[in-house]
Symmetry: C2
Subunit: 658 residues, 2 copies
């Protein structure tokens, strides 16, 4: 074959791929189905019945045996001929003669010949001389399971295209069906690609510019849930020839569908489209859905080729919205459907017109209401995927959803789990991780789902009703008190209880060994010191500003004062990577990254709890946990904390309590 | 060990097991948990991360690597130092110099040194001379994913006791976590027992008194859904020594839990209790739930022993209500929870006080309402288990549920499937099996769930709103018409449309070769002819009575007139097994069992459809299907049918239409 289709692709200034116009997901699926000949692609497979649970029948299944296969006792007792017992009554008991007019039977046992009823053991009277009597007549077929009561040989047990349940397996074996014709499992091959991706199987240590290839494993784990079987080949570098060879090989294997991981976008090293074009015909390039837009569909050798986006959250949309329904269709299954639930959105969320937007949500029920807070929508954010309980869609024709709006969410966890979710929105602290893990260790575990928006953000969340608890460490220089002075201003209408989580040390996080010898705030104004700040509203920022004011240091004199991070760990990683020389943060963040710490002040980190939730089992459990010695010891062991107030209810004016 | 614990068990008149007082399920579970030392019984297991989906973490997991591991481009474009671009605006465009002040980057690529922003490719203007310009300044970190944006090394990724999702696998690998500590899968051993049970692996042909052992396979398929691993030993006969040896061996294997299938009841051959007593300590004998009562729990060698009932529907309750939650608890998982849905019960259902009753329901949505009809509650009925969409519980303190009552059902199928269920209640006909299979073969398949209550029962169901369609073949001798004459009397308030399914032949089903030479109704009065009848209200019964009246034969002169079966196939099986010599039924039932057939009359079998459902997609699809040539050919091929009216709308007075 001529190589013209690759012309120019190694020229960095070559025109990049241009998306065909993006298609809504249903249309993309329709094109894919229309381009495939399912009957030619997917074969049937004879499967031993006892291994067929989760498989789909390829033909109707008829019973070979009846069930019960004979008239049998439905109770423990004595089999009789009903007609022999007519006339028996309390005043005129009838004597039964074992072995002649009655026969002991256990449940399930075949009726002896010439019997047609069973008298329950408890309805038989044993006289003092051992004689057996009854005081009521039996009727024909009393306590008898007649042959074929359940299943009759030759009748339809299950139709075609039926997903076999464990119960079905029992019914099939009972009916003497030892093998069933099923649709073969759909076989999927995943081809990771990219110069930057590292093969996780080698347990690599990434260098700058390298990332661990993990999309293939998300894909495989999902595909197994769909009943598919999967294969993954080692990552292929950004070389069109090698990528083409890998896809060609996958096409020539027994795979029904081939997914190329990454390279489907419009970057200069995105070769998937050219490769697909050289092997077959492009069906779709670009979905009208976000994340997930850079999805590519093609057909070659009668098989479907999928170019998946590289960012995990985009890739997952491609897997779940495109590949999953097509795999279901190929396998004659119903597409996987998530349970739905109406939720209340706690945060206004904008969306782009013309593109369906998929939001991942933290959801917890609060009384009758399920509260949903969207996670940030960065394309790469795997962490929000691991924390979400649901997703919701903003339709293409909407510019967004208002705060407080009801919308239908698709649940990613069993609905009952939502009652076990404890939603935290507020300041970040490492003790929250500890709490999160401890709550999951309880006999009745709870899942702490935490969104980090700083102390003031937490107050807003409490006001909006989107947080069940909120971590807060706001210092008021005027009263020298913590948190209480801010409540009247920000959440005047919400009665709150403040419970201390810990007293924590704030200080300057500096590189290991403190190479720039930073000893206090005065050093921040040095020309050779790069500072990294926390975002406006963060308690740490307020504490810094207070100390700067007290020492008369102008913020503008600090190199990097404008540079904002949102968590202690993000500040620490700036120091660790050399992007900054110091930042204000907590001890545990410094220690986690083996950095040094110059203590500056102590502050009170409290959990704010709306009073109407104080009886909620999640809150009750949390407060009980905080009052245990064990949790105090574990917090103290983190370093940088004092626990003399932990678990106690705070009152205004308490300050640091000593 | 002394053998005294077995004394008397081979004596048929020995006292049978007496249930300890039956326990509600929650109390039984509590006893089992209290008797087990989970920490000693279940170990942790180091698992490669990419094989850990579906496993449960045994310890908190912290990130090893940050994600992104470096500052990286969030868009395709050019990396710049934002500060270099300040001042650029439409009136004062800024020229960028590739390789000096700007650097081409693809999404995901690491930012070149000394850059801190990315300008999207579409925001770069290429002048005629090839020069690159921008008309707006970049701001620091614009379109950049900063190191640790998603995950920061050392932070908690997942807490202990967390069920790992496919997404989690991606997050773990991205964070450089190659192995995770998980709880080992719970290992279950199933010991089938009973002299009558046949090992399905030998593909046996049962003789009278024998049944195929299938509970072990229901159990294993269910257990795999719970994340457990299973082993099954060959069936053990009703011999206490051999059963004890088998249980002992299972206890000494690595199994965490041993289930003995059957033998836990009170029959004289139920040895499970004695065996458990000899090996350990009985915890529970008898559950206050139906089906499922004869469940036995014991503890031996620190492991749980479960004696499961023998009837499949009882066994399943034992598996799902007792074993599943205990396996979940052992594995630190949430117990499996079914989605709930409010349904309307279409049939009054009685229940025994003091026992929780579990009903299996046929459920289909009809508009906003989900209609639920309980299947019959015979303990052995596997077929209803395969057909049910949901289950419901009648609490122990209730005597039953009224028709029309709302109750909360637990769904066994995805909720969306309920919209695809077509509920038939009425007369049985083999063409319904054919329709059922054809409907599942459609691109958008429907599930026909059929309950057989005869033609008049179907009219009642239509009246109650519990049927979406109803098969009916009621002959009115006075008008010589079918079905219409009965509507005014039984369903006066429900406007119905009648669509013909087929004209079918009714006749006398007789043994192969017609050994008693039965040629017509007159032969039914012969002393040597045993008849089997259909139940009162069945169209076939009415047809018989009409012909008897016409020929002047008194029902009482027919031997077996009082003996009732509910379906054609049940009648046929009576003939096939020799329990009767003949019965009235349809040709296809005779042919299915290789019996002979003496035609007697033709009748019109119609589907009755409430008019308000005529636009329902299920009904529309059904009617379209009935008008295809293909379906007519398939019905005709069954034999005993004529299809000249199939799919057509019937009008009063049409009779057989020719």
């Amino acid at each position: 074959m001529a190589k013209s289709y690759f012309s120019g692709i190694n020229n960095p200034m070559a025109p990049r791929n241009i998306y065909l116009h993006t298609l809504p997901v249903p249309e993309a699926l329709e094109r894919a189905r229309a381009a495939l000949d399912r009957a030619a692609l997917v074969a049937t497979q004879r499967t031993p019945t006892h291994e067929a649970a989760g498989r789909v029948t390829a033909a109707p299944i008829y019973a070979h045996l009846s069930s019960p296969p004979y008239h049998s006792a439905a109770m423990d007792g004595y089999a009789v001929r009903a007609e022999d017992t007519f006339g028996a009554r309390e005043e005129a008991p009838l004597k039964l003669e074992p072995g002649r007019t009655c026969f002991a039977v256990n449940t399930g046992q075949a009726l002896p010949e010439n019997t047609n009823a069973v008298i329950r053991i408890e309805d038989i009277i044993t006289r003092a001389d051992g004689a057996l009597e009854i005081e009521a007549a039996a009727y024909p077929w009393m306590h008898v399971r007649r042959v074929g009561d359940d299943v009759i040989a030759t009748e339809l047990l299950l139709p075609q295209n039926h997903l076999l349940s464990p119960y079905d397996i029992g019914a099939l074996l009972t009916a003497g069906v030892w093998e069933v014709d099923t649709w073969e499992p759909i076989r999927l091959t995943f081809v990771p690609t990219g110069d930057e991706v590292l093969d996780f199987t080698t347990r690599p240590t990434p260098q700058p510019g390298q990332v661990v290839e993990s999309n293939s494993q998300i894909f495989q784990a999902l595909a197994h849930q769909w009943g598919a079987v999967t294969r993954r080949v080692p990552p292929v570098p950004d070389d069109p020839e090698r990528l083409r060879a890998a896809v060609q090989e996958a096409l020539e294997s027994d795979a029904h569908l081939v997914v190329v991981g990454a390279g489907s976008s419009a970057g200069s090293k995105d070769f998937t489209r050219q490769v697909f074009e050289s092997l077959g015909q492009i069906l779709v390039h670009g979905l009208a859905v976000s994340p997930g837009k850079p999805t590519l569909l093609a057909v070659a050798q009668g098989k479907l080729l999928v170019g998946a986006p590289g960012f995990p959250s985009s890739a997952i949309v491609c897997f779940e919205e495109i590949v999953a329904p097509l795999v279901a269709w190929l396998g004659h299954r119903q597409p996987p459907l998530r349970p739905r639930k109406d939720v209340k959105l706690t945060r206004k969320t904008a969306s782009k017109l013309g593109t369906e937007e998929i939001l991942r949500l933290a959801v917890g029920t609060c009384g009758e209401q399920a509260l949903a807070t969207p996670f940030s929508r960065g394309a790469g954010l795997l962490s929000s995927l691991t924390r979400a309980q649901a997703l919701a869609r903003i339709p293409a024709n909407s510019e967004g959803i208002e705060q407080g709006a009801e919308l239908e969410a698709e649940l990613l966890v069993p609905e009952a789990n939502l009652e076990r979710v404890l939603l935290h929105v507020g300041s970040h602290d490492n003790t929250l991780d500890l709490l999160s893990n401890e709550l999951m260790g309880l006999a009745d575990p709870y899942r702490l789902v935490s969104t980090h928006v700083g102390s003031l953000g937490g107050l807003t969340a409490l006001k909006d009703g989107s947080a069940m608890i909120s971590g807060c460490h706001l210092f008021d220089p005027h009263s020298q008190d913590f948190n209480f002075p801010f409540l009247a201003r920000y959440v005047p209408d919400i009665p709150l209880t403040l419970v201390n989580l810990a007293i924590r040390h704030q200080g300057l996080i500096v590189a290991a060994g403190n190479p720039k010898d930073i000893q206090g705030l005065a050093d921040l104004t040095r020309a050779d010191v790069n500072f990294v700040n926390r975002q406006r509203g963060a308690g740490t920022r307020i504490l810094l500003d207070h100390h700067l004011q007290q020492t008369g240091i102008a913020p503008r004199s600090i190199n990097g004062y404008q540079r904002e991070e949102h968590t202690h760990m993000a500040v620490a990683i700036n120091i660790s990577s050399g992007a900054a020389d110091c930042g204000l943060g907590i001890f545990s963040a410094a220690r986690a990254l083996d950095l040094d710490f110059v203590p500056l002040a102590s502050e009170r980190y409290d959990l704010l709890i709306p009073n109407h939730l104080l009886d909620d089992p999640r809150i009750v459990t949390l407060l009980e946990l905080l009052r245990t010695t064990r949790i105090r010891e574990k917090i103290a062991a983190l370093g940088g904390y004092e626990v003399y107030l932990t678990g106690e209810i705070m009152t205004p004016g308490l300050g640091l309590g000593r």
